[in-house]
Structure formats: structure tokens, C-alpha cells
């Protein structure tokens, strides 16, 4: 059953352009200049119950806007969306009780009070029955290892601990759909790891539907089977994580270790030498030429060890985004493979 159905969803808004300089700001008194920003321009997608979907895209691609549209916090310019059968921007209480939005860069807990006080407030707002509230809270705080911090003012918590509390606050009412906007941003590796593990476990246990945006590929690769890549407000890719490499990278990386302890100088003629650290070296080779290069290497050199890998996902995506920024119009779905093949 489809939990989220989005059709042609678009959102543009006007922003005031502040003019630099004295004269310009005087002029600004009388006439203000606006520019229209197309944050999201026509998104279609469907998400089934229990899916864990990652939204990837460079800054300003429209990820957060999409999540806010689905949360009903902002109104779309056009298009439709249904989440759990509700139109989000109608903001019906019945809908708002069933989902949660967590934003890694903002906090909603009372800054000066212990997190527990904010939790109690949520209990009242969502009318969570006392026993159930306490059970959920205790379970979540133990899983995220912050149970002992419940009584500590939020401002005294570390960023990681605060984020965990934010997450708990959002989960107290057992939402069926969860929107996570950069939940691990700025956290140290340990806290990231705990949150990833928690999310994976929680999602499998409760069968909730989760949409996640993140800059950390680790989050995505650990958690999500399905990845949606957005750029300039459009969906560029929608599929499995591995599919990204197949689709967007025309290269493979060959790792070599030479017997005689030296890296032959002629290696450059076969492909791009990535990191020569004698006796090891890495070679970036177009996919179609892999067999040819391998044959050549084995015939001409004394190779002790050899392996062929896909390039790291981060790199593929970073290259793709860089491309998109240079030539955004070519970044529509159909154009991408050619674009990347030409390198």
C-alpha cells in the first residue's frame, strides 16, 4: 500500500534581494527587488509502507522543501501529495498525529529545561496515555543511551545527545511516517553510529516509513535500499544504491601491488593513476577498457595482487553534483548517462 503519493509537486517562492551599498538600500525603501526561486519543480514519486528512502542532492536541491511540503508546514505552488491518505497542507489533526519531522539543524526542545519536561509537554499535546508514554520514553532513551540525561537541561547536553533527545521527542507519539532532515549533521562518528543503528532497528521493528535526507553517505548506505537523487528541484535518479554506480559511473578502479616494489612509470598510459604508493597503485579506467587493461598489466608487469572495484559512492555522487552545477539543464533524467560517459 502506498503511504506517500506525490504527483507533479512544485514549490517556488519569492525572496527579497538585499542590495549592497548605501544608495541601493535607499532605493530599496521604495522598490524592492524580488527573485523567484524554484525550490521544487514537479516531483513524482510513490513510497510504500515500510520503505526507508534516502533523499540525496546538493545544498539547495529541494530536499528540505520536499520534506516540509510533505509535513504540511508549507503550501505547494502546484501539484498534489497524499501521505497516509491525507493532504499534508490541510494540516488536519488526524494527519498531524501520525507523522513526525526531525530537523537536524533546528531544535524544538525547551532549551533551559530537562528534556523530560519537553517530553511531558508532547505527552499532553499528543494525548499519549501515561503508561504508554513512559514505556515508549524509557525504551527509546535506553536504546539511544541517553536515559541518564533525562533530567539534565537541554542546553548542557552535547550536540549528539541533544539530537537523540530531539529524535525521541519526535517518536513519542509513535508516528507511522517519519521525515528526517539531516539528523546526523555535525555529529561525531560515535553519535552518528548510534543514531544509524537505532534508526535501522527502529524502522525494522515498527515498519514505519521513513524519508531521510543526509549529507553522510554512510547514513544512506547503512539505512536505505532506495535512493532518490534530487537536483535543482527535479528527481534525477530513483532506484537502488548500487544502481547509482552502474548508472552514473563509467569507470572502475583497479588496485595493484607490484612484486618488484616499484610502480612502473608507463602506468599513466593505461588510465588515470590515483594514488601511487609503491609498491601499490590505483588506476582509474573506463569500464569498457577494464579487460583490455587487465590483460596488458598482467602480461607486461610483475603483479603480486590485483583487484577491480567500483569507485566510492561518495565520489560518484560528488562528481555528478559537480557536473550538474556546471550544466544544470543537462541534469534531467534522460541526459545523465551520456553526460557522465563522456568523461
Amino acid at each position: 500500500m502506498a503511504v506517500i503519493e506525490i504527483e507533479g509537486l512544485a514549490k517556488s517562492y519569492r525572496v527579497y534581494q538585499k542590495q549592497e551599498g548605501l544608495l541601493a538600500s535607499i532605493r530599496g525603501l521604495f522598490r524592492r527587488r524580488y527573485r523567484t526561486v524554484e525550490a521544487v519543480c514537479g516531483i513524482d514519486m510513490t513510497v510504500e509502507r515500510g520503505e526507508f528512502v534516502a533523499f540525496l542532492g546538493p545544498n539547495g536541491a529541494g530536499k528540505t522543501t520536499t520534506l516540509k511540503l510533505l509535513s504540511g508546514v508549507i503550501n505547494p505552488t502546484s501539484g498534489t501529495a497524499r501521505v497516509l491518505g491525507h493532504i499534508p497542507w490541510k494540516r488536519e489533526n488526524a494527519y498531524r498525529r501520525r507523522f513526525a519531522l526531525v530537523m537536524g539543524q533546528k531544535n524544538q526542545l525547551w532549551w533551559d529545561l530537562p528534556a523530560n519536561e519537553s517530553f511531558r509537554l508532547h505527552q499532553e499535546i499528543y494525548r499519549i496515555e501515561r503508561g504508554r508514554f513512559e514505556r515508549t520514553r524509557d525504551e527509546l532513551t535506553s536504546m539511544l543511551e541517553v536515559r541518564h540525561l533525562l533530567g539534565q537541561p537541554v542546553r548542557e547536553l552535547s550536540l549528539g545527545e541533544r539530537m537523540k533527545m530531539e529524535l525521541i521527542a519526535a517518536l513519542l507519539h509513535s508516528p507511522e511516517v517519519l521525515f528526517l532532515d539531516e539528523p546526523t549533521i555535525g555529529l561525531d562518528v560515535r553519535a552518528q553510529y548510534t543514531i544509524q543503528n537505532f534508526l535501522r532497528y527502529y524502522q525494522q521493528e515498527r515498519r514505519v516509513t521513513i524519508l531521510l535526507t543526509s549529507h553522510y553517505m554512510k547514513d544512506v548506505s547503512v539505512l536505505c535500499r532506495r535512493v532518490v537523487i534530487i537536483n535543482s528541484g527535479r528527481i534525477v535518479y530513483d532506484g537502488s544504491l548500487n544502481g547509482i554506480i552502474d548508472r552514473f559511473s563509467g569507470h572502475k578502479v583497479i588496485s595493484l601491488q607490484f612484486t618488484d616494489g616499484r610502480v612502473p612509470g608507463s602506468l599513466g598510459g593505461l588510465g588515470e593513476v590515483l594514488s601511487p604508493e609503491p609498491p601499490r597503485a590505483k588506476l582509474r579506467v573506463p569500464r569498457g577498457r577494464v579487460t583490455e587493461v587487465l590483460t596488458h598489466l598482467l602480461a607486461q608487469h610483475h603483479v603480486e595482487d590485483i583487484s577491480v572495484e567500483d569507485p566510492p559512492l561518495e565520489e560518484v555522487i560528488a562528481r555528478m553534483f559537480a557536473r550538474c552545477e556546471e550544466r544544470p539543464t543537462e541534469c534531467e533524467l534522460g541526459h545523465v548517462p551520456e553526460l557522465l560517459g563522456e568523461e
Binding site: K18, L22, S25, I26, G28, L29
Partner: protein
Amino acid sequence: MRAASAWGHGLPGGREASAGDVAETMVASLRIWFVALRISVEERLVYRADFALSTLMRFLPIVTQIFLWWAVFEGIQTVGGGRETIRGYSYNDFIAYYLLTMLSRAFSSMPGLASGITRDIRDGTVKKYLIQPVDMLSFLLAYRVAHKLVYYAVAAGPFALVFFLCRGYFPGWPDPPVLAAYVASLVMAFLLGFFLEATIGMIGFWFLEVRSLLFVYMLFNFFLSGHMFPLDMLPGMWGDVVGALPLQYLAYFPTAVFLGKVSGADLAGGVCIQLAWVVFFITTARVAMARGLRRYSGYGG
């Protein structure tokens, strides 16, 4: 060498201060001043709606004062048997008084000065005055002057309009010498306001929580500077106490000068006392700053 060491105190590498350095410092401070001016103009202009509203709204309380004092004088006349002044102030004098104190306050009020200084001390921004060749008080004064000039440039219109509309309440222009004394007392009100509040801000070097102190000062300032009513209304002992405080020179004194409530020897004496207070607070602010900064650097920030 002796002469040189007398000159060269504090300058790194024993360099002596030459005429060139002085000129450089002057150019530098002039530049600072222009930057300060530009920033405050831009600040004000960017938020147009706010800006227009706040200048206009400032005059609204005058309207209630006009009606309040009208009612007060009406009340007096019903029973007082023809008494038409309160301590020498007629109804018109009262309105003129309020309008003029608004002008005095435009010179002497220093919003955010003391709290800004204490904040800079708390968050360590004062360190820059230890490192850079900028004198804290001079910089703040330059910034304040710039800020005030911009404010006057903008507020002159509304002020002129309101004073013109209310011209009937004024007794007319005072004699040139009195007018000169008035202008002098306004300028001194600005300096007094600045250095008095800067002194209070410097207390932040010694105590971290100055908020309550600032509030007490604000309260006394509002009540005892004469912003609320002509200080002549205070009975007996209260009048004497308030007369001995510097606060009255922030609002009451210039206004009383303009309205001719102080004249002759009293006028000359008042101006002198005001000047004495200005000098006093320049000194205290300087001393407090020097000691405070020394204490601050002693602690290592």
C-alpha cells in the same frame, strides 16, 4: 634617550610617536568613523517599515500628555480659585516642557551603550581594544556620534513638524545668550549621558551581572532626569536631593533653560555645574576603563 622614553611609552620596539603616526591615527579613526556612519545608515534604511513607524510613534505619548495636563488644569480651576500655574508652569509650559525634554532625551539617551559594554566584556570582545590601536571610549563615542547624527537627520523632519504644529504652546524664542546656553547644555547633555552610561557599563569589568544595576539606573534616570514631569514639582527635601544629582542635566536642565525657568546667576551656575559633571564622568569613565582593561588583561582574558 630620556626624552624618548617619556614619549615612547607603550609603543612597540621603542619607536617614537612621530607626526606621521599621529596623522595616520587620525586618518584611521576618521575611517572608522565613516564606516560606523555608513553601517548605521544602512541598518536604518534596510528595514523601512520599522523605521518609519518608530519615528512616528515616538510622538504619540505627547498626545496623552496634552490631554492629561489639560484635565489636571481643569481640575485645579474648578476648586483652586483661579490658580493657573503649577510651580510657575502654565498649561502651555507643561506641553512645551514635554516636547523639549524629548529633544533633550534625543541628545542624552544612549540606548544599548552600557549593556553593550558589559556584553563586550562578558563575551571577550573587549580583547580587541587591547590588541588593536583603537581606544575603546573614542571608538564608542565615534560610533555613537555617527548613530545620533543619522538619527537626527531622519528625525529632524518629524520633530520639526510636531514642534511646528505645537508652536502655540511655546513662549517664543529665548534671547541669543540663553539660546547659546541652551545649545551648550544640550551638547553637554549628550556628553554627560555618554560618559555616565559608559562608566556604568565599565562596572561590568568587576561584576558579571549588571543587568539589575542598569535597570535601576534606567528607572532613576526616567524619574529623576525630569522626563516624567518638571522637577520643580517635587516638594521640599525631594527637590533638594534631585537638584544635587547629575541626572537632571540630562533632560530637565536644558529644557528649563529654554523655557526661562533658570536665569541670571542660576543659569551660569547651572551650566558650570553641568560642565563639572561632564568632566567628572569623563574622568571616571577613563579611569574605570584603564583599570578594568588592566584587570582584564591581568586575568589573561
